[in-house]
Every structure is written in structure tokens, then in C-alpha cells.
């Protein structure tokens, strides 16, 4: 594995988006992963529609009654991949733009599908495997505990204590080998995470969190997706 890797340098990551006052982080994590996978499959970077997921994805966990993807009230990336697989794919952002509300009807147009899921899977709780899947398959949909993100301004976040109760969906796009830690007096490896709170939040819309001990549950729920490889895309 390379010591440093960032899918932004390889053109697989769209610009930072803003979910607004809506708990739709799960949809941004999902589209980010599929945008990357679609880029790997087609060599074209296409921004995909979160609003389609917000409006149309009500996929439920069959083993957990009442636990369904639910627009601004929350969802789960794996369920969203399942929906995308069943629906046939996601439309382009420009064809189904984000509104930040979940009060609209589903306007999915199957004739305008821009990317489709071939398959998806979960990655084992092992940082080397997460890095390997990132490099091989593209950006990964992950979950994290966001308690330190409310006040995060920059640098490499490496809290001494952080709950692993997952409450936020984000996108893992890369990792670095050496983020300086003044207090610990050593270089620390870190993950590079794309968030969906606009470019003005954090480090240009990104969050850096240290690697090594499943900080804030960052390694706990990692999903990789593969896109359908079609010439028409």
C-alpha cells in the first residue's frame, strides 16, 4: 500500500456538498462512494443525486421493523446501496438537484440513470484492509461519531476519548502518513474524510482523523461499492 493516498488527486471525488439543515448525511456518503466507483468503472466523474435517495429511498432493515431510510430523519448507507441496486441506479445531481427537504414526492426517472450499483459489501474492522479497499475500489462510505466535529476547525483530530456510537455518515477518500501532533511530539497517520457541511466547515469541507485505534468508531462501519461498467455512461 502507498504511504499516502488521496482519491482527490486522481479525480474520483466531486466538490464538497452541503446537506443544509437536514439529516441526510447518509445520502451524501452513499453518492460519494458511488461517484468514486462510477469514476473507476467509466473514467468519468459524475455528481450524483442525493435528493433521489432522500425522496425515493425508504429501504428498511428486514430484521429491524421501523428502521428505514427516511430522508432528513436519517438513513443508512448500506440500505441506500440496496435501494440503488433495486431501483437501477442514481440520476445526475443536475437532473435531480438537492433541495435540503424531504417533503417532495419521488421524481426518479429511470431513463436518466447515470450510475448503477453492481454490488456492495462491508469491509472488516482492520485498518490495513480499509486502506487496501480504499485504494483498490475507490472512496468508501463510512460512519463516525461526530461529537468532535461540531467544534472542529482544522488539523488532525485525535481525541484521547471519543464515543464509538455512530451517528454520522461521511466518505473516506484517502489517508496520509504524517500529520503533525504538537503535543504527542510525533507524526501521526490519519484518514482524510469528506463531509457534507459545505466547504467552509473544517479543512475546506474535509476532516482529518488519526488512524490506529478506531477513533470515534471510524473503522466500525465501512462499505465499499462497485459500479456497473457500461459504455453508455
Amino acid at each position: 500500500l502507498p504511504a499516502d493516498f488521496d482519491w482527490r488527486d486522481h479525480g474520483a471525488v466531486t466538490g464538497v456538498k452541503n446537506q443544509g439543515s437536514c439529516g441526510s448525511c447518509w445520502s451524501f456518503s452513499t453518492t460519494g462512494a458511488l461517484e468514486g466507483a462510477n469514476f473507476l468503472a467509466t473514467e468519468k466523474l459524475v455528481s450524483l443525486s442525493e435528493q433521489q435517495l432522500v425522496d425515493c429511498d425508504h429501504e428498511c432493515d428486514p430484521e429491524e421493523p421501523g428502521s428505514c431510510d427516511s430522508g432528513c430523519n436519517g438513513g443508512l448507507m448500506n440500505s441506500a446501496f440496496e435501494y440503488t441496486l433495486k431501483a437501477g441506479g442514481l440520476m445526475r445531481e443536475e437532473d435531480y438537484p438537492y433541495t435540503g427537504t424531504d417533503r417532495g414526492a419521488c421524481k426518479f426517472d429511470k431513463s436518466k440513470i447515470a450510475a448503477s450499483v453492481a454490488n456492495f459489501s462491508v469491509v472488516t474492522l482492520d485498518e490495513d484492509q480499509i486502506a487496501a479497499n480504499l485504494v483498490k475500489n475507490g472512496p468508501l462510505a463510512i460512519a463516525i461519531n461526530a461529537v468532535f466535529m461540531q467544534t472542529y476547525v482544522g488539523g488532525v483530530s485525535c481525541p484521547y476519548i471519543c464515543s464509538r456510537r455512530l451517528d454520522h455518515g461521511v466518505l473516506l477518500v484517502g489517508y496520509g502518513s504524517a500529520g503533525y501532533s504538537a503535543v504527542r511530539m510525533k507524526e501521526k497517520p490519519y484518514w482524510i474524510i469528506k463531509n457534507s457541511w459545505g466547504e467552509s466547515w473544517g479543512d475546506g469541507g474535509y476532516y482529518k482523523i488519526c488512524r490506529g485505534r478506531n477513533i470515534c468508531g471510524v473503522d466500525s462501519m465501512v462499505s465499499t461499492v462497485a459500479a456497473v461498467q457500461t459504455s453508455s455512461q
Binding site: 500500500l1 452541503n18 446537506q19 443544509g20 439543515s21 437536514c22 439529516g23 448525511c25 447518509w26 430484521e63 429491524e64 428502521s67 431510510d69 436519517g74 438513513g75 443508512l76 448500506n78 440500505s79 435540503g100 454490488n119 456492495f120 459489501s121 462491508v122 469491509v123 472488516t124 490495513d128 484492509q129 487496501a132 479497499n133 483498490k136 475500489n137 461526530a146 468532535f148 461540531q150 467544534t151 472542529y152 476547525v153 482544522g154 488539523g155 485525535c158 481525541p159 484521547y160 476519548i161 455512530l166 451517528d167 454520522h168 455518515g169 500529520g179 503533525y180 501532533s181 504538537a182 503535543v183 501521526k188 457541511w197 459545505g198 466547504e199 467552509s200 466547515w201 482529518k208 462501519m221
Partner: protein, 117 residues
């Protein structure tokens, strides 16, 4: 959210890092920070009552940012666009991972990849 987003884009400096002043004149300093915060993020409140409430929340978040800074010294913690929200408001409004969360039992496991080459 849209107006706040526009305000971010218009801001000269995307970062505000004023979080570790001493106790002396803290109330005055917090008022100053709050003024900067409102201007920077285009915040306005419907009533004086709401304004005063948000200021209290903002002050609590300044203290929280200081605590986070101590717990997380390699990052920079401070004022963000969420500094006038309580932790529960923040969770309710911006975090959306389903609460009864667990991976489906039938989720496919990714194959183990070689990492030594």
C-alpha cells in the same frame, strides 16, 4: 441554510480560532466573539429573547470548544457555523445516521485483500 452558506462563501477568512482567552473580561470577549460569529455566518434571530438564548448556547459552546481542544490537542477546535446550536440540536439537525444502527446480518463481506505489495 442557504443564506448561511452564502455568508460562508463571502467571508474573507473561513476560520475563526478565538477560543482560549483568559477568564479576565470573558463576558465581554464572548460578546465580541458572538458578534464576529453572527457577522461571519450571516446569523440573525427573530427576537431579543431568541438572541439571548443563542448567546448562552454560544458561550457554552466556547467552553465546549476549549474542552475539546484539551482532549484533542492535535486538531484546532473553535467557533464553527454550529456554535449557536446545543449538542442535541446539532445531532437532530445535521446528523442522520439511523439510530438503531447495525449492519444487516446478510451484508456481504468484502474479500480480504493483500496489503503487503
Amino acid at each position: 441554510a442557504a443564506s448561511a452558506s452564502e455568508a460562508f462563501n463571502d467571508a474573507e477568512d473561513p476560520l475563526i480560532k478565538q477560543v482560549v482567552d483568559g477568564a479576565e473580561g470573558e463576558a465581554l470577549t464572548d460578546h465580541h466573539h458572538f458578534s464576529i460569529f453572527k457577522r461571519k455566518f450571516g446569523k440573525s434571530y427573530a427576537s431579543q429573547e431568541e438572541h439571548d438564548h443563542r448567546f448562552k448556547v454560544f458561550r457554552a459552546n466556547l467552553r465546549r470548544a476549549r474542552r475539546h481542544q484539551k482532549l484533542d490537542p492535535s486538531a484546532v477546535h473553535g467557533v464553527t457555523q454550529f456554535s449557536d446550536l446545543t449538542p442535541s440540536e446539532f445531532r437532530r439537525t445535521y446528523l442522520g445516521l439511523r439510530s438503531k444502527l447495525r449492519l444487516p446480518k446478510d451484508a456481504t463481506q468484502a474479500p480480504i485483500l493483500p496489503t503487503d505489495s
